[in-house]
Amino acid sequence: MIGTFRAALAVAGIACAVPLVLAQSAADEIEKYRRALQDGNPAELWEARGEEMWKARAGPKNASLERCDLGKGPGVVKGAYAELPRYFADADRVMDLESRLVWCRVALQGMTEADAKRNPFGSPERKADMEALVAYVTGESRGVKMNVSLDHPKMREAYAVGEKIFFFRGGPHDFACATCHGEDGKRIRLQDLPNLTSKAGAQKGYTTWPAYRVSQGELRTFQWRLNDCFRQQRFPELEFTSPASVALTTFLAYNANGAAFDAPAIKR
């Protein structure tokens, strides 16, 4: 990822070399940088594209997604993301937003599951429909308080399993999610790391995804966030909408309950 970026600008490999600056003023200036980005978030471009896609007829059944039930009834998008993941009786399993969108594209639009899951993470060469749909749906929960329910036993199971995965150490580097996200006030290089085992940390971390990543020029979903964390953990690839990804999302989303959802965001 950094490799691509470096190539894009065709500059000498200065990767992480940074000139001398006082740490405190550096932190202030980076805060200023982040504030300046808030003024215009290209995620809006994805939201607009996603809304159009939501309403457009597509697939073998030539149907739109407007009757898709995200948990609050067919076609209800407003506030739906703040209650996901949830147990869906029609599928008899716990689903996060991406899983549910795949389900709706199969059930309503008649796509094969493989087609509905294809190209989940976009590139300049190939934009991802999924990222646009997720941008639109999540944007419709902006300002809504996270309210994930563990009433259903399968939600409780997903939460418990997600917690175990969060603390699972493995691979050549012995990394777990908790390695970087288990303590307050830590950062990797200059990037702050939310402590996802604390209420405040989970709230801050979870409610600011999806996000437009300026380093990539793409909108990234929570499924992407998990996928790429495991890549950097040196794990094999986490499959898109896999049960582990949904369980981990359930663990983190539930821990974020009570906080106002605040995405799509913009991040480095």
């Binding site: 950094i2 003023s25 200023k32 980005l37 003024d39 990037q191």
Partner: protein, 159 residues
């Protein structure tokens, strides 16, 4: 816009297209840095301020305290997107250009400021590395410049 274009084509005849376009307010003759060219290729392929000034047909700019960088951080968390805002309080500002000393080509953007538009623009640029950034202003036919160093950091590095 299509309507205007048709109108231009219809009127046609002896009048040059450029004059008509200019009359329609699309291009003002001698307008600032643009020099009437649609896209100043030469200016976008320069590697020093001197070269850029040559491409603009201007002389060496004077340092000015009346040009300010607005909402422009000293450090960018990522060089792919560096917010830069420039505002000029020099009377009769006609245009504002943003240049990055150490980019492969210096000139990033030029904005022509018609009368009635605030001499202040904000955009986001790419920076390959830490560098001086110049704000070049043309006002009443003369050139002025201010500069600021912006440091670029890269994070993560897990790849």
């Amino acid at each position: 816009m299509d309507a205007r274009r048709r109108e231009v084509l219809k009127t046609g005849g002896g009048v040059s297209l450029l004059a008509l376009v200019a009359a329609a307010g699309w291009l003002k003759p001698g307008d600032a840095l643009a020099q009437g060219a649609a896209w100043n290729k030469a200016a976008f392929e320069t590697h020093s301020l001197d070269e850029t000034m040559k491409a603009f047909g201007g002389s060496a700019p004077a340092q000015s305290k009346d040009i300010a960088f607005v909402s422009t951080p000293d450090i960018a968390e990522n060089g792919a997107v560096v917010p830069v805002g420039v505002s000029s309080s020099i009377p009769k500002t006609e245009s504002i250009a943003i240049l990055v000393e150490k980019n492969p080509n210096m000139l990033a953007a030029v904005f022509d400021i018609p009368a009635g538009t605030d001499p202040a623009v904000s955009t986001r640029i790419k920076m390959g590395q830490s560098s001086n950034v110049y704000a070049l202003v043309k006002a009443d036919g003369k050139y002025y410049v201010a500069s600021k160093e912006i440091k670029v950091t890269l994070g993560g590095c897990g790849g």
